[in-house]
């Protein structure tokens, strides 16, 4: 009961934040709604036993990346722009149709696939046992540093490249 309540709470917060993000005029408000949604999502992550990822979500996403966005909005001085960047009625209608269509389609697929559970009970138990024995971090670290070591290292390289790239792109060119 408790679980259900919290889930619904987080879910409502996430969904509401998302809707408000695309609906609010001010980019800064949009961003704040998005941060709210991300926080709520990390709650959902916890309820799904992904504690480590929930933490990363808060620290990296809601924290670092969103702050980066905020910086940029401030930098470009977009914060108090009142000129609406919302498209016209036709576009809104299209977006509504597309969005609800997409949602309906995926939801239908989810409900249809529910009967045929994705995997047997055995693997579910194995995953839970893994989390119990190694803890949330350990369970994730095991494959990350063994089977996926090379992609992991490549990620490091990617981040380096991204930093260099960002600097190069955003640098003010000498006149």
């Amino acid at each position: 009961m408790m679980e259900a309540f919290f889930f619904l709470l987080f879910a409502t917060m996430a969904a509401g934040g998302a809707i408000m993000m695309i609906a609010s005029r001010n980019p800064v408000s949009s961003l704040m709604y998005l941060v709210l949604a991300f926080f709520a999502l990390s709650g959902v992550f916890v309820m799904l036993d992904a504690h480590f990822l929930a933490a990363v979500q808060v620290i990296v996403y809601a924290g670092a990346i969103m702050v980066l966005f905020l910086f940029v909005i401030m930098l470009l001085n977009l914060g108090h722009r009142e000129d609406i960047d919302m498209r016209g009625h036709l576009a809104r209608l299209v977006a509504l149709v597309a969005g609800s269509g997409l949602f309906a389609a995926v939801a239908a697929l989810v409900f249809r696939g529910e009967q045929a559970t994705l995997a047997g009970e055995e693997s579910r138990l194995a995953v839970e046992a893994m989390i119990r024995s190694r803890g949330a971090v350990g369970a994730l670290a095991e494959p990350l540093f063994t089977s996926y070591l090379v992609p992991f290292e490549l990620t490091a390289l990617l981040l380096l490249v991204a930093i260099v790239g960002a600097v190069v792109l955003a640098r003010r060119r000498a006149p």
């Binding site: 993000m21 992550f45 498209r87 969005g99 997409l102 693997s123 991204a162 790239g165």
Partner: protein, 101 residues
């Protein structure tokens, strides 16, 4: 009330994704479009975490990578937006059509 969290999470994921899509379609501000893309990424992450409970923890590894790549992408993407802003003096996606030559 007996709520299947996994099922509900998948529905939530679908909803967030749909909202992100709608946002991309409806907004002209490049940064907000960008934010919508981030939202869609998170929706997918949510799905992956749901699947990780039954299919193995590799799915969570993938979420981890998605986050890392999203960070890189945000850095580069925002840098591009800054560059574009300097050139066009605006971030309205309708004002530039760089994909066409």
């Amino acid at each position: 009330m007996n709520l299947d969290i996994e099922l509900a999470s998948l529905i939530l994921s679908a909803f967030l994704f749909a909202v992100g899509t709608a946002g991309v379609l409806v907004r002209r501000n490049a940064i907000i479009v960008f934010m919508c893309v981030e939202l869609m990424l998170n929706a997918v992450n949510l799905s992956l975490i749901v699947f990780s409970r039954s299919l193995g923890l590799e799915a969570q590894v993938l979420v981890f990578f998605v986050m890392a790549v999203a960070a890189a992408e945000a850095a580069v993407g925002l840098a591009i937006i800054i560059a574009i802003f300097r050139h066009y003096e605006g971030v309205d996606v309708d004002r530039f059509n760089l994909l066409r030559w």
